[in-house]
């Protein structure tokens, strides 16, 4: 059998419980997401906002723990900063197309 890497087997053992725990939390939060969608918070927009905030929290858990972003190298984080910047730009373009502040060509608004 190949030898364990760098003598870090113990550290990996410790993470196993964490992985199962985060999996359990994610499945429980899925149940919470479903339950919250049946509660009327006053407007559909608010329900969507709450649902998306919860989804974002779940995604952060997946990224931080399963994808090991917690403690990841600076290069990877730099990739992520750029990605976040460009995605924000993409959504900004959608917003601009919807609000249509310059040309007034969005017929849905009129």
């Amino acid at each position: 059998m190949p030898a364990a890497s760098h003598g870090h087997a113990g550290a990996h053992e410790m993470h196993l419980k964490l992985y199962w725990g985060i999996g359990g939390v994610l499945i429980a939060l899925t149940g919470v997401t479903v339950a919250l969608s049946y509660i009327d918070f006053g407007s559909r927009g608010l329900n969507i906002l709450i649902g998306m905030l919860l989804a974002t929290f779940k995604v952060c858990l997946v990224g931080a723990i399963f994808m090991h972003l917690k403690g990841e190298k600076a290069t990877i984080w730099r990739f992520l900063y750029f990605t976040a910047f460009f995605v924000a730009g993409l959504f900004l373009l959608t917003l601009l197309a919807w609000v249509d502040p310059i040309f007034g060509t969005n017929h849905n608004m009129h």
């Binding site: 190949p2 990996h12 992985y19 479903v34 989804a55 995604v59 399963f66 190298k73 990877i76 993409l90």
Partner: protein, 322 residues
């Protein structure tokens, strides 16, 4: 020639090649799905009142599939950890569970969820004809409650205009419906629901609960458990129809973006399953030669798999719940 930093990390970045590569790839994937989600937002904001449906997807099935994907995310990271601990049998077990989860997810989507939509039919009623179908739409009631109007009558097609592409489906559905009617002892002596009409241009639809009981307050929120199909039918004249069709991408902007995003996501799941199956069946050779190299491969494939999982975490509430 030996490729540098294939297994060990480059001193300045602390990364091996594949890890750098997969994160760049995932960045491009974020832009791909970001564009589609951007399209979703635009279509939803642009939908006229009543034209963005709610409660058409099966929530318990979607919830189960979400849990299956999350479980697979746990098992794939455990498979990688098992390799780091040089525990081959445990790696095989977790990898097998991951593959099974991926296959279950795809199986549910392709053999149950999609076919259910492909056999469901809906007609959008022209605005100037909505009042004629008030008994199935309940718009006066919805207006009094300050809710969006209902503009679609949906269910299972029993009769279609002559010469239309839906004649075959309608005939099969009508046979099944008549059989169920007979078994339940409904109708008889011409008193049962209309199944087919003499007119060449009519649609006959076995109604969904929302159209059968349009003023039922429980319709205001998607029900967790799917409601039983009713035995009521409605006749819709072709001249009153704005557009009609099965719940396929061409049916409405909602189904167009639903099938685009879930279809592309499904292709990613398929890609992941194929890679994992390769590692499961043919990974032993590389593991024996260089276990750290093999662990790195599983790690980058796992990163891709986690990304597929996190896309679904957004897809599930946006399409199934909200």
């Amino acid at each position: 020639m030996q490729i540098p930093y294939e297994v060990s990390s480059r001193p300045d970045t602390g990364l091996y090649n594949a890890k750098l590569g997969i994160w760049l790839f995932l960045a491009s994937e974020v832009m791909l799905f970001g564009g589609l989600f951007s399209g979703y937002i635009f279509l939803r904001l642009g939908a006229e009142p009543g034209y963005w449906p709610h409660g058409l997807l099966n929530v318990p099935v979607g919830t189960m599939n979400t849990a299956v994907l999350i479980l697979s995310s746990v098992t794939v990271v455990l498979a990688w950890a098992a390799l780091k601990m040089r525990n081959w049998s445990q790696y095989r077990l977790y990898m097998l569970i991951t593959i099974v989860c991926g296959v279950v997810f795809l199986g549910v989507k392709l053999s149950y969820e999609y076919p259910q939509k492909f056999t469901h039919f809906g007609v959008f009623i022209r605005k100037d004809s909505l009042v004629k179908y008030e008994a199935y739409l309940g718009n006066d009631f919805l207006k009094s409650r300050g809710l969006e109007p209902r503009v679609e009558i949906s269910g299972h097609l029993l009769d279609a205009p002559k010469g239309s592409e839906y004649e075959g489906v309608a005939k099969r559905n009508a046979e099944h419906f008549t059989h169920v009617l007979h078994e339940e002892g409904v109708g008889g002596h011409g008193g049962g629901p209309v199944v087919q009409t003499e007119a060449a241009d009519d649609f006959v639809i076995q109604l969904d609960p929302a159209n059968a009981r349009p003023t039922d307050p429980t319709n205001e929120h998607p029900s967790f458990l799917p409601k039983k199909q009713t035995m009521m039918t409605a006749v819709v004249k072709r001249e009153d129809v704005e557009s009609a069709g099965m719940f396929v991408p061409g049916h409405s902007p909602y189904f167009a973006i639903y099938f685009t995003i879930t279809g592309l996501h499904g292709l990613h799941v398929l890609g992941g399953v194929i890679v994992f199956a390769y590692f499961f069946f043919f990974g032993g050779k590389l593991y024996k030669r260089n276990p750290e190299h093999f662990a790195n491969r599983v790690e980058v494939a796992g990163l891709f798999w986690h990304f597929v999982d996190l896309v679904w975490i957004f897809v599930f509430p946006l399409f199934y719940l909200l």
